[in-house]
Every structure is written in structure tokens, then in C-alpha cells.
């Protein structure tokens, strides 16, 4: 352990400047960021262990856990990864995107510590409630759909976790406010702007969460007589999907940050990128309505407005980012003389830098897997093909498990160097990790989607291969479950490799000098106005391909649905 041996880099006011990013970092912001990142990694370890147990149960050739344990570990898996790993990372991203990028102190650092304590305590409460639940207290999984009763402490934990996250976000809001008071005419940097939009979406989601969980808690302890199941579903998804929108917007903010730091990207058009973030604020939470497309109570008009018209406002925003980010990378690299032709800028990219490779795989896999399936599933008729099948977890593993998680991994790889000023240990492992994880998890996602959409296998179900007393079963899907099982084990190993590098570097990594840290693009500025240096044809080709694949799958899904709906027959 050499945590105490770092040289003191701070000046008298507690600032130090980062020679790589040029940021002015203050001690008060740096320390909470480290704390939140480390806590997130701990949550990831727990969620990863749970992932292994869950995957080896659904792969029924192994069939590891009995049903009761399966539901328990599925709850642990969902809360540890979808909530704890993500939200702790996101608070860290708010502090980086806010005070650090702005070169400010973290205002009211005590609130950061209070928020962290509240979040850790309530996360413990939630896990405890899951651990001790036995009938009549049922496992909550992620959704805790009332009137199915979970342990009362679970709801209390959820409420406290939300409050903790709000408290932890307050210093961020204060720093934005201070910045605007002191520099009313200066616009926020794009990354700060992205973090700010993330926090607005987050507040909507967290408010929805309080409206959901407080009455549910009161109902569970008997202070309210009954709770309406449809009401709960609609309210729950304001936070249930809302938190996932936070993941999305935080991930995109990380994409802008990492392509700039690790890849030498530029922002091609501030105006367009900012408009896209604003589109998210207006539309993305309406998209959460797709969770109740198969519910009887909502009208078609309601479904169409929320899940198509409003959602496409958010989809358009995503498509804008899908273009701007690679285009920024392409132009940035071309102008620095790093590659020509169509894809030279990608070929010459620092693929052996895990910060870059993790970010790039995150962008590609999120777009092609999470993004495309999200657009298809949110379509009200096409949703029928996928609703509550294994394709649903397939979709959100495509968004959070490859997309957000890889982006956060890349971000954490850089955090180790930039914040902790440690060199990576086991460099070969650090270099291979994003390839290994993206490859394995990518196949897991494809297998899950195929199992769901081709065979109709339900999600959240420990045993579909043998349904006693019936002639039918889902055993035709067994080979694909085998593929999923093997690659899921590999993905968990790749996740473990990330933890080994991250924790190992913090404990045993050598202190790095700023000059040895990361790629330095500042000396490569070239000046030229030729079209070649500012071409975006590589990005144009890649994104046209994305649109083509989206259109193709949209058509294929309708053909598949046509067979079931018997139109044209």
C-alpha cells in the first residue's frame, strides 16, 4: 500500500493543475470523486458475482441456483449494477463535469460526504432487506411491483438512497450556480453542460422515485390501506427508466470527454451537440412510457404520443450524438495528421489505450445493440414481439452492460492516472480488458436478444426448459443459452480483470509523472484548410451504415409481426 506516499501536488489554495487535460483541480473535489468511484467499483464486484450466479442459473444445463435463491441474487444483481454501480459513478461524473472542468472548489464538501454516507447506508439497507426476505416478503427484483410485498426496509432503503443521491448532487448544482453568478456571460463548457442536463433528468427521475416509494412504503407498513397496481407501474417507471436515462446522458457526456482526452477529438459543432442534450431533457423521460405498452389501461393515443412521437425526439438527439462524437474524433485526428483516407483516423487510433478502446466499443456497441433495439421495442406494435421476453434484458444489457459500463470503465482507467496519479499495474491486462469485455458481453447480448425474440422465452424465470405436465417447452433455445452462459462467464472474468487493474493500480501502482501519463495531442496541432483535413466521410459512412441497420431491423421486425398478426395473409 502506498496511498500515503504520494507527493503533495497542491498549491496553497489546494489547487493543482493537470498537465494532460489542462484542468485546475481542487482537493475538495478530487477526494469525493475518488470516494464515489471506489464505492462504485465495490458495487460492481458484488453485482458481478451476482451476475455469474444468475447467468449460471438461466443456463439450465448448469442450473446452479434453486428458484428462491435465483430471485434473491437477481435482486442483488439488478440493484448493485443498475443502481449502485451507476449512481455512484454518476455522482463522480457530476463532480468532474462540474467543479473540476470549471476549475472550481467543490462547494459544501460536507454535503458530498453526507450524501455518500446516506447512499452507502441505504444501499446496505436494501441489500440487507433482500438478504433476509422470505415469504410473505418477496424479492423486489428491480421493480418491486406493488401489490407484491417486499420487506418494509427495502422501500425505506430506496427512499433514503434517493435522498442521498439528491444531497450528493447539491454541491454540483451549487458550483454551476456559483459559476453563473461569477461569470454570467461565459457559457458552460460542453462537458459541464452535458453533466448539467444529466442532473436535470436525474432530478425528475428522483422526484418520481419519491412519489413512488413514499406511498408504497406507507402502504407496506399499513398506514395506507391499499395501493393501485397500475398507478404504481406508471409512477415507478418515472424512476425505473429515468435512472437509465441518467446512465445514457452521463455516458454520452463521458464519450465527449474521453474522445477528447484519449483520442484528440474536437467538438465539431457546440450548438448542435447542446441542442441534442436539450432534446433529451424535453423528451427522454416520456419514453419511459414504453414499459406499459402491454398494459390494458392506457389508450392508443397515449401510447403513440409517448412512445413514438415524443420518444423520437430523444432518438433524434441520440442520432445527433451518434454523428457528432465520431465526427469530432475524425476531424480532430485528421487535423493532427493522424490518418487519412476513409478510416485512417480510426486505424491510427490508440487502440492499446484502454481508455480509448473502452470508450470506442461503448459507442459502437451501444449504437448497434442498445440503441437500435430500444427504438424497435419502444414501437407500440413491435413491442408485442419482445414484451417481457428475454430480449428485454438483452436490450438493456446492450445499453448499460456494454454501453454505459464500458464507458465508465474507460473513464475509470483514466481516473486512475489523472486523479490518483497511479500507473496501471498489469498493463497487458489493462490493454486487453476492453476487447475481452466488449467481445464477451456483446455475444451475451446477442444471445439474450435471440432467445427472447425467436423463442419467446420469458425473462425473470429460472426454469423454462421443463414445464411439468405440458407437451411444450423452450428446449429449442438451449444451445443459445449455452452460448450465453459461456460468454457470460467470460464477461464476468473480464469484469474481474477491470477490478484487478483498478484496485491493483490504486494499491500498488507507481506514482506517475504528469508527462508520462497519457497521450499528448497538444503538440500535434496542424493548421490547414484543405477539405481533406476536415473531411468527415469516414463518420458519414459509419453512421449511414447505422441508419441502414436500424431501417433493416425495423423492416424485419414488421415482417415477423405480420406473420403473427396475419395481415397480408
Amino acid at each position: 500500500m502506498n496511498l500515503a506516499l504520494l507527493s503533495a501536488p497542491y498549491d496553497e489554495d489546494g489547487f493543482r493543475s493537470c498537465s494532460v487535460t489542462g484542468l485546475k483541480l481542487h482537493r475538495s473535489a478530487e477526494r469525493p470523486v475518488k470516494l464515489f468511484v471506489i464505492t462504485a467499483v465495490v458495487a460492481m464486484v458484488l453485482g458481478g458475482i451476482a451476475a455469474l450466479l444468475v447467468a449460471l442459473t438461466r443456463w439450465e444445463a448448469v442450473g446452479l441456483l434453486p428458484a428462491a435463491d435465483f430471485y434473491k441474487w437477481l435482486s442483488v444483481h439488478a440493484w448493485s449494477l443498475l443502481i449502485f454501480w451507476m449512481v455512484f459513478m454518476e455522482i463522480a461524473i457530476l463532480y468532474v463535469g462540474g467543479p473540476m472542468v470549471l476549475g472550481r472548489k467543490l462547494p459544501a464538501p460536507k454535503l458530498a460526504w453526507t450524501g455518500w454516507s446516506l447512499m452507502v447506508g441505504s444501499a446496505g439497507l436494501i441489500l440487507y432487506a433482500v438478504w433476509v426476505s422470505s415469504p410473505p416478503n418477496y424479492q423486489p427484483l428491480l421493480t418491486s411491483y406493488a401489490p407484491l410485498e417486499s420487506h418494509p426496509l427495502f422501500y425505506l432503503g430506496a427512499i433514503l438512497f434517493i435522498l442521498g443521491a439528491v444531497v450528493a448532487a447539491l454541491p454540483f448544482f451549487t458550483s454551476i450556480w456559483q459559476e453563473k453568478v461569477e461569470n454570467p456571460d461565459r457559457s458552460l463548457p460542453l462537458v459541464t453542460f452535458g453533466a448539467f442536463m444529466t442532473s436535470i433528468i436525474a432530478l425528475e427521475a428522483l422526484l418520481g422515485g419519491l412519489i413512488t416509494y413514499v406511498p408504497t412504503f406507507l402502504w407496506r407498513i399499513g398506514a395506507l390501506e391499499s395501493i393501485d397496481a397500475s398507478w404504481y407501474r406508471q409512477m415507478y417507471w418515472t424512476i425505473g427508466h429515468g435512472t437509465q436515462q441518467i446512465n445514457l446522458v452521463a455516458m454520452i457526456t463521458v464519450w465527449y470527454f474521453m474522445t477528447y482526452v484519449a483520442g484528440g477529438a474536437e467538438v465539431i459543432s457546440e450548438k448542435v451537440s447542446r441542442s441534442a442534450f436539450i432534446l433529451y431533457v424535453f423528451f427522454i423521460n416520456l419514453g419511459a412510457a414504453h414499459h406499459i405498452l402491454a398494459d390494458p389501461v392506457v389508450s392508443s393515443g397515449w401510447r403513440m404520443w409517448n412512445c413514438s412521437y415524443a420518444t423520437y425526439g430523444a432518438v433524434l438527439a441520440s442520432l445527433i450524438h451518434a454523428f457528432s462524437i465520431p465526427a469530432g474524433l475524425e476531424v480532430g485526428r485528421r487535423r493532427k495528421g493522424l490518418g487519412d483516407g476513409w478510416f485512417g483516423w480510426l486505424k491510427s487510433a490508440p487502440w492499446s489505450d484502454p481508455g480509448f478502446s473502452a470508450t470506442t466499443f461503448s459507442i459502437i456497441l451501444f449504437g448497434f445493440m442498445g440503441g437500435i433495439t430500444g427504438v424497435l421495442m419502444g414501437q407500440m406494435q413491435l413491442n408485442t414481439l419482445r414484451h417481457n421476453t428475454f430480449a428485454v434484458p438483452g436490450h438493456f444489457h446492450g445499453t448499460v452492460a456494454v454501453g454505459t459500463t464500458l464507458a465508465f470503465m474507460g473513464f475509470a482507467f483514466y481516473g486512475i492516472k489523472l486523479l490518483f496519479r497511479r500507473d496501471w499495474v498489469a498493463k497487458w491486462m489493462a490493454k486487453a480488458q476492453p476487447f475481452f469485455y466488449a467481445g464477451a458481453m456483446g455475444i451475451v447480448v446477442l444471445a439474450m436478444m435471440d432467445i427472447g425474440i425467436i423463442y419467446g422465452v420469458p425473462r425473470r424465470h429460472p426454469s423454462v426448459m421443463d414445464l411439468p405436465g405440458t407437451a411444450f417447452d423452450f428446449s429449442a433455445s438451449a444451445p443459445l443459452f449455452g452460448v450465453m452462459g459461456v460468454t457470460a462467464v467470460l464477461a464476468v472474468l473480464a469484469g474481474a480483470a477491470f477490478v484487478i487493474v483498478a484496485v491493483g493500480s490504486l494499491l500498488f501502482g507507481e506514482e506517475t509523472r504528469p508527462s508520462e501519463m497519457l497521450p499528448d495531442y497538444s503538440g500535434l496541432e496542424t493548421v490547414g484548410t484543405s477539405a481533406h483535413l476536415t473531411s468527415m466521410r469516414g463518420t458519414a459512412a459509419l453512421t449511414a451504415f447505422l441508419l441502414f441497420v436500424l431501417g433493416l431491423f425495423y423492416a424485419v421486425d414488421w415482417m415477423w409481426l405480420a406473420r403473427l398478426w396475419e395481415f397480408g395473409a
Partner: protein
């Protein structure tokens, strides 16, 4: 913004961006068109509001009290299935209809959320306490379909399923 490089870059960026945005917009408008066409011109609709009931008095409320859960013939090649879902069974769990029948399922839940998906069909809906779910489907080919509860409903969730048999004895 006097820097000619920056200016030139922004001009080029605008051309590419406009092109891509136009393509994206055309695509999303086409999706919206497909949705509207499917819903209004082809009547490809999802189950909608079919009424509410008091979830604690399900068993005293029609049609779940009278005629109660079961399979009823309502016309030539027309059947109605009154389906009660509760932890952890469907009632009826065995459904038999002749090939060619148009079957209307009317269902609800007596306790917590349940899901109802008939394998190999587009019957894929939620069963929600307090809400009535209605969906119609025509079974053309003889054969067997499983239906599973696809919303987690407690520790016995995985034991909640049933079977629908389409017999070849139909008139159609």
C-alpha cells in the same frame, strides 16, 4: 471566430451534419408513418381500456363471478375465455379450442401483477389487479401453445403456466 480553419471546419461540419440529420429525420418520419398506418388503416391495435374493477372483489364481479373462469363458446368458431390469474396459477390452466376459432380472452389478476403470453402468438399482455385485459386472436393451425406468466409474481412465479391446445376438429 476569425480563425479560418475553424470557420472552414464549421462550414464542412454543417454540410455533413445537415445531410445526416435530414436522413435521420426522414427515417423517423417514415417510422411515424408506419405506426399511424398500422394503427389507423390496418387496425393493428393493442389491448386498451376495458374497464376497472375493485381488485378485492374480483370474485364477486362479472365475468369472473358469473360465468366465472372457463372456456365458453359464443358463436360458430367463436370462443370466450374468462381467465383469472392469481399467485401462482392460471384458471383455466388448460384451454382447448378447435382450429379456426376466434378466441377472446378476458382476464384480470386477483392479487399481484401477472403476465400472459401465449407462445408463438401475439397474445402478450399484462394482467393487473383492478384492470380488465381483453385480447382476441384466431388460432388457425392445430397444435399446442404454452402460456407462461411472464411478470415476476413471487416465489412460485416459475410454476405459473398453462397450455392451450388447438384441436383439428373445428368446422373452419
Amino acid at each position: 471566430m476569425e480563425d479560418p480553419v475553424v470557420q472552414r471546419r464549421e462550414e464542412i461540419a454543417e454540410i455533413y451534419e445537415k445531410g445526416f440529420l435530414a436522413l435521420s429525420a426522414v427515417m423517423l418520419v417514415a417510422f411515424l408513418g408506419a405506426l399511424a398506418y398500422a394503427a389507423f388503416a390496418m387496425n393493428i391495435e393493442l389491448p386498451s381500456d376495458e374497464g376497472q374493477l375493485n381488485p378485492r372483489e374480483v370474485r364477486q364481479t362479472e365475468p369472473f363471478s358469473d360465468p366465472g373462469p372457463g372456456v365458453y363458446q359464443t358463436g360458430p368458431n367463436e370462443y370466450r375465455v374468462v381467465l383469472m390469474s392469481s399467485a401462482w396459477r392460471f384458471n383455466p390452466a388448460e384451454i382447448e379450442v378447435p382450429a379456426g376459432s376466434e378466441v377472446t380472452f378476458v382476464g384480470t389478476s386477483a392479487d399481484v401483477l401477472h403476465g400472459f403470453h401465449i407462445e408463438g402468438t401475439r397474445v402478450n399482455v399484462m394482467m393487473i389487479p383492478g384492470q380488465v385485459t381483453k385480447i382476441t386472436y384466431t388460432f388457425r393451425e392445430p397444435g399446442q401453445h404454452d402460456f407462461v406468466c411472464h411478470e415476476y409474481c413471487g416465489i412460485g412465479h416459475h410454476q405459473m403456466y398453462g397450455e392451450l391446445t388447438v384441436t383439428s376438429g373445428g368446422e373452419g
